[in-house]
């Protein structure tokens, strides 16, 4: 189980990018975090693995045996120990492109391997076979010997899921795992993540409310760093508007439909207005 309590991420000037975010995620949950770009979704996920250190708040991960791992206010060694139990799935381009697919999967268990052995001997055959099982779960065994850099976006995303599976984590974190994929590949990734979430909870940042409604068990809406929605994944249009805000934001400038006549100005630069048009 993951417990995030009251985390705050501040810029040096005091602006709060993540503002008092709290939630818990337990067994069998597939949680989607929704929100506009820059709302604080990724930052929240980065805090959970300790890639960004929150200025306030606490994050703890509880294992089945009752052991707990914190990723806030801990030393580097303790943070590494906690990270072993968090399976990370980024948005594309996070594989080591010059290593083979299978080696990339095996990287998932680096936290359990002595660094000296990494330098002198490398991975064992038994580990490779185990990684093959993880690769099989995402249906990518045929690509095991290829270089990761030669894969397509959807294939890369699957391999990074296999890497997380091979890690045998207590929770999966997926930062926009389907944002760079076409709808068909996106569905395929969701169809892998959904059964995975029944064994181990999954938290992901998404931009597709329709896909979320179909696959996830719960949604958390973040707006300007604050949680504004926490409930079922099936979100009404009204609630969506609440999460994404209305069109006053300048990043939502409407695009002119191709057939529409714009207000016309003559070459003498004098405005020629249509009736009822406003400048």
């Amino acid at each position: 189980m993951l417990r995030v309590s009251n985390i705050v991420v501040k810029l040096p000037d005091g602006k709060r990018l993540v503002n008092d975010v709290s939630f818990t995620v337990g067994r069998g949950e597939f949680v989607a975090i929704l929100g506009s770009s820059g709302a604080g979704k990724s930052l929240t996920l980065r805090c959970i693995v300790g890639l960004t250190r929150p200025s306030e708040g606490e994050i703890a991960l509880m294992g089945p045996s009752g052991k707990s791992y914190r990723t806030t206010d801990v030393k580097a060694q303790e943070l590494r120990r906690a990270r072993r139990h968090i399976g990370l799935i980024f948005q594309g381009s996070n594989l080591v492109k010059r290593l083979t697919v299978l080696e990339n999967v095996m990287l998932g268990r680096l936290g359990h391997i002595n660094p000296l052995r990494s330098w002198l001997l490398g991975f064992k055959d038994a580990e490779a076979r185990e990684a093959m099982v993880a690769l099989d779960r995402v249906n990518m065994t045929s690509c095991a010997a290829r270089l990761a850099g030669s894969l397509s976006g959807g294939e890369m995303q699957r391999v990074s899921i296999a890497r997380a599976i091979h890690q045998r984590p207590l929770i999966y974190l997926a930062d926009e795992p389907i944002s760079s994929l076409d709808p068909k590949n996106a569905e395929a990734i969701m169809a892998i993540l959904q059964p995975l979430s029944r064994e181990t909870p999954v938290i992901g940042a998404f931009h597709q409310p329709m896909v979320v409604a179909k696959y996830c068990t719960r949604a958390i809406g973040i707006r300007s760093g604050k949680i504004v929605y926490d409930g079922p994944a099936q979100i009404s249009a009204r609630q969506l508007e609440h999460i994404y805000g209305d069109s006053e934001s300048e990043s939502y400038l409407p695009v002119r439909p191709s057939g529409a006549q714009p207000p016309f100005y003559g070459s003498n630069l004098q405005p020629v207005l249509h009736e009822g048009a406003t400048v």
Binding site: R98, L107, P115, W119, F264, Y265
Partner: protein, 279 residues
């Protein structure tokens, strides 16, 4: 009502702004060209470079060119050994430089090394790059005496300087997501270097190393003339004793050596960058 000669006002102003920008750029380019031209004229005047010197030089030099031919073919076999000395010196310096530049590059990259170490290493690299090989050579002769050893050390030193700088830049270009994904599994910094950094920069190391080998062969000839032995030494003694036909033979052999190393290095570099070699 929309005729092609009439531009909507909405487009007119941004268009004029763009045009102004382009005109500004043209003006800047013309100004730079003008400044360069004035500089060339000024330096030619101050350093007393006259076309007359060229013309008279050609007049005096032409008969001298005839004295270089025919090359002293009988000396060729004897020159093969010094040629080998130059090649081996360049090769050993390149290999030594490649091995030592890797730790230097790791310590000089902003995304791996802590700032104080990085600044120290960057300063060290700048120092190595700031001293031309020939200056290093003259300093080293004072320590080691004449012979290929000071040449080898001078070439390795400047190889480290160039390769470490290029490699550090290659390391800084690695996508941060890739490093974070590996670190996020609980891997130590040394494991991140072993599995995410080294595989990514290995091609850059070898491609730049081959390039440096070409350079070292040419620089080795020059260092030979100031005391490192090899074909450069043969060349300089022949010129000093006005044995121009022997000098011509040495020149031909040097040309052949440089040409062959260039072809070989091009071939392997192409293979490495295409991903055939080194996987």
């Amino acid at each position: 009502m929309a005729s092609p000669s009439m531009t909507p006002f909405r487009q007119e102003l941004p268009f004029l702004e763009w045009k102004r920008g382009i005109a500004g750029q043209r003006l800047k380019q013309a100004a730079i060209a003008g400044v360069l031209l004035v500089l060339v004229a000024l330096t030619a005047w101050r350093c007393e470079v006259h076309m007359k010197t060229f013309v008279l030089g050609i007049d005096k030099g032409l008969p001298l060119v005839g004295m270089f031919f025919p090359p002293e073919w009988s000396g060729m076999v004897g020159m093969l050994q010094p040629l080998g000395v130059t090649t081996v010196m360049a090769m050993a310096a390149t290999i030594l430089g490649m091995c030592l530049s890797l730790p230097c590059a790791l310590a000089a990259s902003s995304n791996l090394a802590p700032p104080p170490l990085r600044l120290m290493m960057r300063a060290f690299i700048a120092l190595e790059r700031g001293l031309p090989e020939i200056v290093q050579m003259l300093l080293l002769i004072a320590i080691f005496g004449l012979g290929p050893i000071p040449g080898l050390v001078a070439l390795s030193f400047s190889s480290i300087g160039m390769l470490a700088k290029l490699l550090a830049d290659a390391i800084e270009e690695i996508e941060p997501h890739m490093l974070e994904a590996v670190a996020g599994t609980g891997a130590t910094r040394s494991q991140v270097i072993r599995y995410a950094v080294i595989p990514q920069i290995l091609p850059a190391l070898f491609a730049n190393g081959l390039f440096r080998f070409e350079f070292n062969v040419r620089a080795g000839v020059i260092l030979g003339a100031v005391g490192a032995g090899g074909i450069g030494y043969i060349m300089s003694t022949a010129m000093n004793s006005m044995d121009y036909q022997r000098a011509c033979m040495a020149t031909l052999l040097t040309l052949a050596l440089v040409f062959i190393t260039e072809r070989v290095s091009d071939f392997f570099r192409g293979r490495i960058l295409a991903g055939g070699l080194l996987r």
